[in-house]
């Protein structure tokens, strides 16, 4: 129920830099996801928001209040830890009641709140159990219960569902998102799983090696990645990259790879020209934006050979080789080509991305 502003925040552990000049504003009631690979500084950022870690330099505001020097207990936050961090000697009820007890709420109110949260999370029958008697999913619900009982200003989640099995994880994604909408509480959610970010967040902050790469809605991140890292990190299966050469100029540039010649649209060509793209660039294209046809007389831009096919039930992933490179194509139809079969690949040129080969910056 407050905005969170991270302003020029740096984090050093001794000489190791974990977070570099971070600027993020989490809006009131927003579900913001910190997304990035292992070791990119997500947890460090979250722990600075919680007050569990000193801020090396920079400022953190909750609303207008600077919280740098406020200890965790006075920040009015609730945090869910990766390993749940339940108190083993306390029952589920006592675990969930802990923050309320520390607020000196009276017993009947505590009971009411805990039962309310337990009902919401469907763990009422477990209230008298100890954490050792719970399954992973139940522990995780208890940890979330402990966070939601007291209507904090901000929820902080550190990979709360990373240790659950795939099915439960997908179920909990929906539950958590629903819960956040219902409670209308500003939320910062850390994950390394891009699917969690894409499905749950209002906005995603993609981090890499301590540096914020891009901050935007899942749609923006997916459709307009600002650089090669973001493009490759978000999306499953990941984006295909292909080193190409630009030929032509002005309004009619084209990308050349081997004997493929891909004509770019007028606007795309102009962007490359105004941004002064080098000749050598990297093409990025998502598996969904490729078309495949079997046989040799396909008339498509690229001729390739099937390397392997991976049926996913409804969809089919096809990996195809051409020259030194390999691409993944995702198709609805299950054309069952055999490995080694010839095929043709067409690129949806409206959906393609071009990156600077040195800096990784996206031109579009």
């Amino acid at each position: 129920m407050t905005s969170v502003t991270i302003k020029d925040v740096w984090k050093y552990y001794g000489k190791t830099m974990a977070v570099k000049e971070l600027n993020i504003e989490v809006r009131d009631n927003e579900f913001l996801c910190l997304l990035g690979p292992s070791g990119c500084g997500k947890s460090s950022t979250l722990r600075m928001l919680a007050g569990l870690e000193f801020i090396s330099s920079g400022e953190v505001f909750f609303g207008d209040l600077k919280v740098n020097d406020i200890p965790p207990r006075d920040r009015d936050i609730a945090m869910v830890f990766e390993n749940y961090a339940l108190y083993p000697h306390k029952t589920v009820f006592e675990n969930m009641a802990n923050p309320l007890k520390l607020q000196r709420m009276n017993k009947t109110d505590i009971k009411e709140r805990v039962v309310w949260a337990a009902q919401m999370l469907e763990i009422e029958e477990l209230l008298q159990r100890k954490p050792v008697e719970l399954s992973g999913g139940q522990k995780q619900r208890t940890a979330i219960g402990r966070a939601i009982v007291r209507e904090p200003k901000v929820f902080l989640f550190d990979e709360p569902i990373a240790h659950l099995d795939a099915k439960l994880r997908s179920h909990m994604r929906g539950e958590l998102k629903h819960l956040q909408r219902r409670l209308e509480t500003t939320t910062v959610y850390v994950t390394h799983d891009q699917l969690e970010g894409m499905t749950m967040a209002d906005r995603i902050a993609v981090m890499h090696e301590g540096v914020l790469q891009q901050l935007g809605t899942p749609g923006e991140i997916y459709n307009h990645p600002v650089n090669e890292f973001v493009a490759g990190f978000v999306g499953e299966p990941p984006m295909n990259f292909l080193d190409c050469r630009i030929e032509g100029a002005g309004d009619s540039a084209s990308l050349v790879y081997d004997n493929m010649n891909l004509a770019l649209g007028g606007e795309q060509s102009r962007i490359l020209e105004t941004k002064g793209a080098a000749r050598e660039v990297r093409l990025g294209i998502r598996p969904d934006d490729l078309t495949i046809e079997m046989g040799t007389d396909h008339g498509l831009e690229l001729s390739a050979k099937i390397f392997v096919t991976e049926p996913l039930g409804g969809d089919m992933l096809i990996e195809a080789d051409f020259g030194q490179d390999r691409m993944t194509i995702k198709r609805k139809i299950a054309e069952l080509g055999q490995p080694g079969d010839a095929c043709g690949i067409a690129v949806n040129s409206e959906k393609l991305h071009v990156f600077d080969r040195d800096t990784g910056e996206a031109f579009f």
Partner: protein
């Protein structure tokens, strides 16, 4: 176990699954002879140990049921339970128990609270390693030496502690060990000085194992440092404290070297804990039968208290509670 091994089965074998039973049990169960072989190997050692520890115990019971004769050639007289029944009317025996409990309770409470405090301070100190080395020194000392050291410190002519207490005006007359109300404090202080480090060390080991995340979660929940210690760290320390308390309470019931050296049970029996009385009965009055009876009660109570303590401090996380909500 079986679930994992099934995947490692070679394909030819899994074709037979359901027809031929493939045994995936660990080796030891298949190889019964191996276990017997081990047992025979261990047998001599086990027998020897049993004999060594059982013999004195059996002898103790024998003595407690006899009037043991010391003169050579005289055989012991059967006394039945006389040695035990006489204890009921023995005032010194009862007083010995009271003094023992007082002594043990004082030692334990001071040592535990001080030990935990020291451990917490050490845990947050940069000089942890150095301090541990220094703190360990009293523990290395033989109890008799500790006794002599403290007698020196308490000495009524040149003892530092004596001088200190006198200067502060708390000790009005006599010496520390010669004063009926100060003597107990004197021997407790010696025990505390020597054994607090052990408790601090055990607690420190426990503190290192308190999960950081639990402490952090509690901080976020709104707990201050003190609250955090009592509601998260301390419960996690219970198993460690149990070990410390068990060790110390059993030692208090056994070790009388320091007391024998320092006061011998005086003044006016103020420090005559039961084991000291037992020593007197057996080796001053030479009533070995009665001494054995006293020793037997001491043994029984030590075992009983040990069991009770284990029950109290039982790791609460292991307890399974299946009833529903109230």
């Amino acid at each position: 176990m079986a679930v994992n091994t099934i995947h490692r089965e070679p394909p030819e074998q899994s074709a037979y699954r359901g027809v031929r039973r493939v045994d995936h049990s660990p080796q030891i169960f298949n190889n019964q002879p191996a276990r017997y072989y081990l047992m025979w190997l261990l047998l001599p050692a086990v027998l020897l140990l049993a004999a060594i520890s059982l013999y004195p115990f059996v002898w103790l019971i024998y003595m407690s049921l006899h009037e043991v004769q010391l003169a050579p050639g005289k055989s012991d007289l059967w006394a039945g339970v006389d040695n035990f029944t006489r204890l009921f009317s023995d005032k010194s025996f009862a007083r010995g128990w009271v003094t023992l409990f007082k002594y043990s309770a004082l030692c334990l409470s001071v040592e535990i609270s001080l030990g935990v405090l020291v451990a917490v301070i050490l845990n947050n100190s940069r000089l942890e390693k150095l301090f541990i080395t220094i703190f360990l020194m009293p523990m290395m000392m033989a109890p008799v030496v500790a006794g002599f050291l403290y007698m020196f410190l308490y000495n009524g002519t040149f003892g530092w502690y004596f001088w200190l207490l006198r200067s502060l005006g708390v000790l009005d007359g006599g010496t520390i060990l010669g004063n009926k109300s100060w003597a107990m404090a004197g021997i407790v202080a010696t025990d505390v000085w020597q054994w607090t480090p052990l408790i601090a060390l055990i607690t420190l080991a426990g503190l290192k194992r308190v999960p950081q995340e639990q402490l952090e979660a509690n901080m976020v929940d709104g707990a201050g440092p003190l609250r955090n210690f009592f509601s998260v760290a301390l419960p996690n320390l219970y198993p460690f404290l149990l070990i410390a308390i068990l060790l110390r309470f059993m030692d208090n019931f056994r070790f009388i070297d320091t007391i024998l050296i320092m006061t011998g049970g005086g003044p006016a029996n103020a420090t005559k804990i039961l084991p000291t009385y037992l020593f007197d009965v057996s080796f001053k009055f030479f009533e070995l039968g009665r001494g054995a009876a006293i020793a037997f009660t001491l043994l029984l109570l030590t075992i009983l208290l040990g069991l009770i303590l284990t029950k109290i401090f039982e790791d609460p996380t292991r307890k399974i509670k299946t009833d529903g909500m109230d």
